[in-house]
Symmetry: C2
Subunit: 408 residues, 2 copies
């Protein structure tokens, strides 16, 4: 299958591209390196030292004999995107090419506007490109479980049957997103559903949970293929950040009570879910929604699991409850269905002690790259301007790495 990976240099996109390439699919990556630019903007490098894309792709060819094409450009540039569609003629397009951090979108007005315009226009362009150049191409779009918020009823996969005043209908599940970023994904979902209806586009919206881990079978082949691992307050996902904190005996930073419950998944399941979606495409005109996660945890449960695993490794781990910088329920009902990917054959990698050990070991291996000043939240949902230049009241890393930006 000819598969176009938009955002193929990123945390989820890169291992997904390798996964497909390894299995013999013809893969092309589109990326504008925005994610690498944001590293510089916020002064936070990935814990792992990732290679430039050109080097990654040369290594991949050397190691496996397989070629992955790359086109460098921005999906919000329709002329560029059109040329990629016309040249590569994708049968599936996997769309990761969005700004994906809630805190980034909440820094200030500029970041909110950028996030929504970037994500909405990029996705509109992809939809128009599919319609105009590859109408039978299957769009696999990364959404987020955060589109649903935390309703007091069970969360279904995209749609819910509602009985009301003696009548009934199956309608889109109501959305209550919790950041300008999450809102952008809700906007995307509505736009995609509409294009499926009017143009017969085939689309799968993957409402993904919080991803953890960095390693897949393909990434593990060589150091030159290493994936990003973000631990900072902006791009670091909860479990990754907790492991880094444990590795340097920094208190694990739980926001508020920690009763915030979310769906989580291993990055090995991310790549497998995307593969399953591509191998079993939506029908023409079908807008299909899969909830893409494997387990639910509260943030405090995660913290306690890291605490236990850390202690086993001889680390001194404590848990701190910080005032929640987000506006969200700190305790709530949460029960989200996630059976459609399992029905297609997903065998989940559940969060186990051994995985926690390996995550902690990665954090320990790269501990001299950790910048402690990046661990505490500086973006407050209640403020419309967050000045990230003013450091929080916190000493810099005492682990010997100074700013932590030394190349490794």
């Amino acid at each position: 299958m000819r598969i176009l990976i938009l955002g193929g240099d990123g945390y989820c996109g890169w291992p997904t591209a390798l996964h497909f390439s390894y299995r013999g699919h013809e893969v092309a990556i589109v990326d504008n390196f925005a994610r690498r630019l944001w590293d510089h903007e916020i002064g936070a490098m990935t814990l792992t030292a990732i290679a430039p894309l050109s080097e990654r792709l040369r290594s991949w060819k050397r190691l496996t004999g397989k070629s992955i094409e790359s086109s460098i450009g921005d999906v919000t540039d329709y002329e560029f995107l059109s040329s990629v569609f016309k040249t590569f003629e994708p049968e599936a397009v996997v769309h990761f090419a969005e700004q994906r951090a809630a805190p980034y979108s909440m820094i200030d007005r500029q970041h909110a506007v950028f996030t929504q315009v970037n994500n909405v226009v990029g996705t509109l362009n992809v939809l128009f490109a599919v319609k105009e150049f590859q109408p039978d191409c299957h769009l696999v779009k990364l959404g987020t479980m955060g589109e649903y918020g935390t309703p007091n009823i069970d969360i279904e996969e995209g749609f819910i049957k509602i009985q009301h005043n003696g009548r009934e209908d199956v309608l889109p599940f109501p959305k209550q997103p919790g950041s300008f970023y999450h809102l952008s994904k809700v906007h995307d979902s509505h736009n995609i559903a509409f294009c499926c209806k009017i143009w017969g586009v085939r689309a799968t919206d993957l409402n993904q949970g919080v991803v953890y881990g960095t390693m897949t079978d393909e990434v593990a082949l060589d150091q030159s293929l290493v994936n990003r691992f973000d631990y900072d307050e902006i791009f670091g996902t909860a479990l990754n950040r907790f492991c880094v904190q444990a590795a340097i005996s920094h208190p694990i930073t739980v926001y508020g009570k920690g009763g915030q419950t979310r769906g989580f998944l291993d990055i090995r399941d991310t790549v497998r879910c995307v593969e399953l979606a591509c191998l079993h495409p939506a029908q023409p005109g079908e807008f299909r929604v899969f909830n893409q996660f494997t387990e639910q945890f509260s943030v405090l449960e995660l913290a306690r699991m890291v605490e236990a695993a850390g202690k086993k490794l001889g680390l001194s781990v404590t848990i701190d409850h910080l005032p929640d910088p987000r506006v969200e329920a700190e305790e709530h009902y949460y029960n989200a269905r996630h059976t459609k990917l399992a029905d297609l054959g997903l065998k989940p990698h559940l969060l186990s002690e051994s995985l926690l050990d390996s995550l902690l070991n990665i954090a320990i291996e790269y501990r001299d790259r950790i910048d402690m000043s990046l661990l505490l939240p500086r973006v407050n949902w209640r403020k419309s301007r967050n000045d990230r230049k003013s450091a929080p009241a916190l000493a810099m890393a005492a682990t010997g790495a100074g700013t932590g930006h030394s190349a490794k």
Copy 2:
């Protein structure tokens, strides 16, 4: 009350500004004249010959002794919008300043992207300006009944109580918008609800039906205050267009079967609804939704009412069913609640024979300005590029006005 009217030179904004000013409120208008520009872009002038804003405001001062401030600029320009907020310090901001035509948004990719970016960024800017400069200011935002689509259950006002698997919650009513324009309003609604939650903004989202008419008590004071009256396939609302067609004995153009049922209201009720919302503001942090229409009709019912009224006036009126250029259900259940504005005191102007007579008489009065080439739909939802330059197979107006663009 100090009331800022964003988009105060437009079809709904202008009579709203006059209505508030007449009642002694301090009114300021913001407009960038985008709507007048689109007249030139699509080659369709308002049937009524509207005066420039500066002239309108001079007349208003002369006729009533009342001043309305104006600031010319774009709400997507935050520096401009901020300066208006800081200078005028509004207690209520009424936000009409969006691209408001579904067909315009469906012309092609550029128009879709423009509509969504313009509307979403403008509303984000208004939300940030409220938060930063006037946190107690009440935002009254024009949405649309089209956000709901046509579900097979009763439509509630913004929220619905859902019982599911033995639990229940009150959640945002599911949205199924039918154009890139309607989608932009759904995006806005989600963004506004979020800002109410995180910042305590007070907001009322007015999900307005299709507006008809052109006259309010204030507009009627003098010819120089005359309001726009659009009848073209892009900006013309259904009833206005039907009256124009009847006036020149052009068949009334019903799309498809005409079973499409929508909420409608008289423009006199638009201004009154906005007034009621401002006089009874939302609470801090409250996101309130009113369905703003007074009667439901199917498009075919409307056409038949115009046919009957036209015949009474001696016009030769016929009804044509065209292939529906939109992708929508041509027959469906529709029952939308609209009690909240009535509870606040709205006394509706229901669509009567006498109103239809007066609308038809306006169309007849201005018949030499009618351009028949603008009446047939040229924007097809099923196409991603609609070339409006190629005229439909239709003779130009036989009513003596040629292109119809002569000034009156």
